[in-house]
């Protein structure tokens, strides 16, 4: 008799077949490690203006990405920028999932009024442009890390909620749920033991895909000058500064641009790969 395998095992195998997703996962892992061990791999602190005399110098063997206009090692800034970007991405995604799961499960399971209210709430978030709301909220709270996390999770939960709702709705009609009801299981038990475990795929996918959205929002806000306040480095902020020097000192614009593009792309491809692997029916959505 062959060894028994859970549905997640097959998902993992499908994922392993997806080269782009695996490579993206590895790249993201490397970036993550760099962000975590930033102090160990960078020569100075991110705000240390140790190289004022060499300000704006191009990449060299000492300074892989050159020096910025304020005499700071640019590689250090990029690595610490990953810290900001990733921590915002992950915490926003975490909060998005924490808001989205219960709301989606309740809307999907109970339907009727609960569903109506959640759907109106989602509608509200879909007609208000997130960037404008973010700018307003940013002004309200003077920006900063937590504001951005708040905004990103406020707009990120919608996707998770819709995914969980759809899944719960589909599974609520399944006969194993009926069978559990016939056994006298409470709605709470059914949601906990059957519906949420079966929604694990959309939850994982929703979580991973919320990360790049939050990172993009952070970069956009920082680019507009209302995100993470200097001197804490953020790629969006660095791109904004880099633009002023673009004609003569290309490295100041190119490196943060590449860092942001690669990170966001890797996360998205990883999320796409997970989605295709975990739930083949959601492919391409």
């Amino acid at each position: 008799m062959s060894q028994t395998r859970s549905p997640l095992y097959f998902a993992l195998r499908r994922f392993a077949d997806n080269k782009a997703a695996v490579v993206s996962g590895i790249i993201l892992g490397v970036i993550l490690l760099m962000a975590i061990f930033a102090p160990l791999i960078t020569p100075t602190g991110y705000a240390d203006q140790d190289y004022l005399t060499e300000a704006l110098s191009f990449p060299s063997s000492q300074h892989w990405m050159g020096i910025d206009d304020l005499g700071r090692d640019f590689f250090t800034r990029i690595v610490y920028g990953a810290r900001v970007s990733l921590s915002i991405g992950f915490s926003a995604a975490l909060f998005a999932v924490l808001i989205g799961i219960p709301l989606g499960a309740i809307a999907g399971f109970y339907g009727g009024w609960a569903d109506w209210i959640v759907m109106r709430l989602i509608e509200l978030f879909s007609v208000v442009p997130p960037l404008l709301a973010a700018m307003l909220l940013g002004a309200l709270t003077n920006g900063g890390f937590f504001t951005i996390v708040l905004i990103a999770s406020l707009f990120g939960w919608v996707q998770v909620c819709l995914l969980v709702r759809a899944q719960v709705k589909a599974f609520r009609e399944k006969e194993f749920v009926r069978a559990a009801q016939a056994l006298g299981a409470s709605p709470g038990y059914i949601i906990r033991r059957h519906l949420i475990p079966n929604s694990i795929s959309p939850i994982i996918v929703g979580f991973v895909l919320a990360i790049p959205l939050a990172m993009m929002l952070e970069a956009s806000l920082s680019f507009l000058g209302i995100g993470v306040p200097p001197p804490v480095p953020s790629w969006g902020q660095m791109i904004n500064v880099g633009m002023d020097f673009m004609y003569f000192y290309w490295h100041l614009a190119v490196f943060p641009t590449l860092a942001l593009a690669v990170t966001v792309l890797a996360t998205t491809l990883l999320g796409d790969g997970l989605r295709d692997a975990l739930d083949p029916t959601l492919k391409g959505r």
Partner: protein, 309 residues
């Protein structure tokens, strides 16, 4: 005589469907089940036969209190469970269980078979975890799946094997009543025979009473003691199984019987098909019946819907 283990008294279900057009058009009442009364004596199998839309599955769901009846009562072992709250109902849930048609959606894909079969024990808090697993494995063994299947997942099984697991889960609490909603209609012939035999054996062994819902008269003939035929939400004929096959009185029952494919090419015959209107017009007219169609006894234990005429 002891009370029947399950009794349905004048059960009805009306759905309100939105009427087309206009703001204040209101609703149309759709009578899915009308005034259905059934008794299931202890240790017997009762077939509930009809086509899709006849109300047979709705009746099954109401019996399990998975759907609330519009009117009527449900009695388990003489106890009225129609109006019990979920908490009050829970002990009675041990007395009655259900098996569905689609074995694939009947099992949680994320759970191992041992957990699936042990779930009823878990919900009712019977025994410690190891005991629950042990009982589940024994039950799997009883329905013909080796204990080693306990660690497997539903997607690794065939349709017939999954249906065995669903039966194991339904019977692990040793209920008195099993509602079986088309459990064999999605299965291949050879597997169908296996499941029918399994149900027959278990019924004998456990002293079980089964409400067997089906559209397949051939299966019903091999499995049941009595048959009730449903049409348009009402019961139009009920009798001992062989009586239905030898002496069907209602035009709908006759239509169903003639629709069974022949069992040998030499029996091929031309057929006549009645429309729903023709069936309604063809309700038997019997002396002694009432002015409106109602069940009327034509011989002991054989009831047919009839009008005076």
């Amino acid at each position: 005589m002891t009370a029947p283990v399950l009794e349905l008294r004048n059960l009805s279900k009306t759905f309100q469907l939105p009427r087309k057009g206009g703001w204040f058009a209101g609703h149309i009442d759709h009578h899915a089940v009308r005034d259905v009364s059934l008794t299931l004596p202890r240790n017997t199998i009762l077939g509930l036969v009809g086509e899709s839309g006849s109300g047979k599955s709705t009746t099954g769901l109401m019996t399990m209190r998975l759907m609330e009846p519009t009117s009527g009562r449900i009695l388990i072992d003489g106890a009225d469970i129609t109006a019990l709250t979920p908490a009050e109902l829970k002990p009675y849930r041990r007395q009655m269980q259900i098996v569905f048609q689609d074995s694939y959606s009947a099992l949680d894909p994320m759970m191992t078979l041992a957990r699936i079969v042990a779930e009823p024990l878990h919900i009712h808090g019977i025994g410690r975890a190891e005991e629950q697993t042990e009982q589940a494995l024994a039950m799997l063994d009883r329905v013909g799946l080796h204990r080693s299947y306990g660690q497997r997942y539903p997607h690794e099984l065939s349709g017939g094997q999954r249906q065995r697991v669903a039966i194991a889960r339904a019977l692990i609490l040793r209920p008195q009543v099993l509602v079986a909603d088309e459990p064999t209609s999605a299965l291949d012939v050879s597997v169908k025979a296996q499941i029918i035999n399994l149900l027959l054996d278990l019924q004998q062994e456990m002293g079980l009473s089964i409400l067997f819902i089906s559209h397949d008269l051939s299966v019903v003939r091999s499995l049941t003691d009595r048959v009730a035929v449903m049409f348009n939400g009402r019961i139009v004929e009920t009798a001992a199984t062989e009586t239905i096959f030898s002496d069907a009185r209602h035009p709908y029952t006759q239509g169903l019987l003639s629709a069974i494919p022949v069992l040998n090419p030499s029996d091929r015959r031309p057929r006549r098909f009645l429309t729903a209107d023709e069936i309604e017009r063809g309700i038997p007219r019997l002396p002694g019946a009432g002015p409106t169609p109602a069940l009327h006894q034509v011989s002991p234990g054989h009831l047919v819907e009839a009008v005076a005429g």
